[in-house]
Amino acid sequence: MAKSNEVVWWSLFSAGGVVAALLVPALLFITGIALPFLGPVAYETLQSLAAHPLSRLLLFAVIALSLLHWAHRFRHTLIDMGLRRGGVVIACLCYGTALVGTVVAAYLVITL
């Protein structure tokens, strides 16, 4: 059973890896460094930028897929660092957290 689940999580890991690789550095620079330190963008401007349907989609995709990427990678990292088979608990915690994040992202993006 574990082998057949693996494919799903690995596919999400792959998709998340690509999306994170291409988009996270720029987003990180924008929200973590530019906006706080290089002069903020007016609230109205940023709000309307984020509320654009394409922005909503992009934000959801980046957040959800990056979390799912982390979940799979981190689960295997824990196994590599000595938690052996890891067990169902670690898998549930990792994927569960990512799924919660996905739901929260969907909610925030829809109600922006």
């Binding site: 994170a20 690789a21 988009l23 990180l28 620079f29 929200t31 930028l49 990056s66 295997h76």
Partner: protein, 128 residues
Amino acid sequence: MAKPYVRRVPAAWWLKKPAYVKFMLREWSSVFIAVYCVILLVMLARLKAGPEAYHGFLAALRSPGWLLFHLMALLFAIYHSVTWFHATPKAMAPRLGEERVPPALLVAAHYLVWLVLSAGLIWFVLGR
């Protein structure tokens, strides 16, 4: 029938060779990216809540602690990108008819897309 022997691996196995350390750094880059995603979710929530919440959020990010986090996260995110691009030709080798696409070309294409998307995003949000 005897149980198969499972060799004990020391917890610090990955410190033994530089290649292993780089591997671990790459794996842990995903943690920084995940934490950043949570921060991004908080930002969206604050943006939803109104101008005061938004400016309060930015003010909180101006602390040295958060600046340090973001700088480290940025380095790790870039490390993820670079290692991902260079791993792609090993994971998939697309063909153009008979010939395999040269790995360097595949990697260069990723860098180009990365540059274009990053510049586009930065201009889109900050440049108006």
